[in-house]
C-alpha cells in the first residue's frame, strides 16, 4: 500500500475526542507556532498580526485542520497542517501537494490526533 493510499484510508478515522480545554490550548499553540507565516505574508494585506486571525478563520470554516502526534516517551508534540482542496481532500502544508492527498471526513473539525501508523506514513513523504 502506498503512503498516499494509507493516508486516505486512515486519516478520516483519526479523530479522537479531546478534552475541550486541551484542544483549545493545542489549537492556540498551533496557530502561534505556524511555521509558514512568511508565505502567508506574501498575500495582500497579510501581516504578522493578521496571519493568526486568518488561520483562525480558516480553521473555523473547516478549510484548515490540524493533526497532532504526541510521543509520550519523548514528550514530543508534532503538528501537521492539512489544507482542504475540495470536499474531503486535503494537502499537507510543507509536503508535495502533487504527491500527497489526504482524505479527512467533514466530521473532523479543527484538531485531530494522528496515531503512530498515520504519523509514520506521513514521515515517509518527501518534503517539498
Amino acid at each position: 500500500m502506498s503512503t498516499e493510499q494509507a493516508l486516505q484510508t486512515n486519516a478520516a478515522s483519526a479523530h479522537h475526542r479531546l478534552d475541550q480545554g486541551l484542544e483549545e490550548v493545542i489549537l492556540q499553540y498551533a496557530i502561534r507556532s505556524f511555521p509558514y507565516t512568511e508565505a502567508l505574508k506574501t498575500l495582500p494585506g497579510q501581516t504578522d498580526e493578521r496571519v493568526p486571525h486568518l488561520l483562525t478563520r480558516l480553521i473555523q470554516k473547516e478549510s484548515l485542520k490540524i493533526g497532532f502526534h504526541y510521543e509520550e516517551m519523548q514528550d514530543r508534540l508534532t503538528l501537521l497542517y492539512f489544507l482542504r482542496i475540495e470536499g474531503d481532500t486535503h494537502t499537507v502544508i510543507g509536503l508535495d501537494p502533487d504527491r500527497v492527498r489526504v482524505s479527512i471526513s467533514s466530521e473532523v473539525q479543527g484538531l485531530f490526533r494522528l496515531d503512530d501508523e498515520q504519523y509514520l506514513d506521513i514521515l515517509q513523504i518527501p518534503l517539498v
Binding site: Q28, L43, G45, H53, R57, L83, R84, P97
Partner: protein, 223 residues
C-alpha cells in the same frame, strides 16, 4: 476556539466576462460595508466627459466602439483601453491612500486582461483577485446576449476574418474564440476561481464568496 476577531479579505477585485455576476456580487459586498468601485462606470464617466463623443449610456458606448470589422474600431478600442488603464492606475493610487481597514471591492471590466502587464500586476498585488468563471456551455447564450444587446467589447485581436467571409459570420465564429482566450487569461491572473454552480449553491452569499476565495488563495501559496 478563541473568540479573537477574525477577518476576511478586505481588498477584492472581481474579474470575468460580462454577465457572470461581477456587479451582482460587488453590490452584495457593498452591503457588507465595502466601498464599491465600478470600472465600467468610471470609464464611461471619463469618456462621457469628452463632449465630442456624446456618450450617455452603455449603449452609446457600444455604438461608439462599434464592431471589430468597422474602420473606426481599432482607434476606439485603443482609446477605451487607454482610459481603462488610467482608471486602473487611479484606483491603485486610491487604494494606497485609504485607511488599511477600509474594505474595497473593484468591479473590473471584462477587458481588464488586455491592459499592460504592469497595470495588471500593480492591481493584482493590492487585492484578492476573484475570477467569476463561466462554462464554455454558456458561450452560445453569451453570444446571443451580445448580439441582442451589444456592450462595448475589446476583441484584443481575436477577430480574424477569413477571405470571402461575411463580417457578421466571422464575428459569430470568432466570438467563442474570444471567450476561450479570455477564460485562459482570467484563470491565469486570478488568485481564486468561483464557478457559476458554486455561486448558485443554496445559501451561498457574499461572505461565503470571500471565504472560499481566501481559502483558494492560501492553497495557491502552498501549491
Amino acid at each position: 476556539m478563541s473568540s479573537e476577531p477574525t477577518e476576511l479579505p478586505g481588498r477584492v477585485a472581481l474579474v470575468g466576462m460580462s454577465g457572470v455576476g461581477k456587479s451582482h456580487w460587488s453590490q452584495h459586498l457593498e452591503a457588507l460595508g465595502f466601498l464599491r468601485w465600478s470600472c465600467d462606470e468610471l470609464i464611461a464617466e471619463a469618456l462621457g466627459q469628452d463632449a465630442s463623443l456624446d456618450l450617455r449610456s452603455t449603449r452609446d458606448l457600444a455604438r461608439w466602439m462599434g464592431h471589430p470589422y468597422e474602420r473606426r474600431y481599432p482607434e476606439a478600442e485603443a482609446t477605451y483601453l487607454r482610459w481603462e488603464e488610467r482608471v486602473t492606475e487611479t484606483l491603485c493610487e486610491r487604494l494606497n491612500t485609504l485607511a488599511p481597514d477600509q474594505k474595497v471591492v473593484i468591479d473590473t471590466t471584462g477587458s481588464f486582461i488586455y491592459l499592460p502587464p504592469e497595470a495588471i500586476d500593480r492591481l493584482r498585488s493590492q487585492v484578492l483577485m476573484i475570477y467569476l468563471s463561466s462554462a464554455p456551455e454558456q458561450d452560445q447564450q453569451m453570444l446571443q446576449t451580445f448580439l441582442e444587446d451589444p456592450k462595448p467589447v475589446i476583441w484584443g485581436g481575436a477577430y480574424q476574418r477569413q477571405p470571402e467571409e461575411a463580417p457578421d459570420v466571422a464575428l459569430r465564429r470568432c466570438y467563442p474564440l474570444l471567450l476561450a482566450e479570455r477564460r485562459r487569461r482570467y484563470q491565469e491572473l486570478a488568485h481564486a476561481v468561483i464557478d457559476l454552480p458554486t455561486q448558485r449553491t443554496s445559501g451561498f452569499d457574499a461572505e461565503k464568496l470571500l471565504h472560499l476565495a481566501q481559502a483558494q488563495q492560501v492553497a495557491q501559496v502552498f501549491s
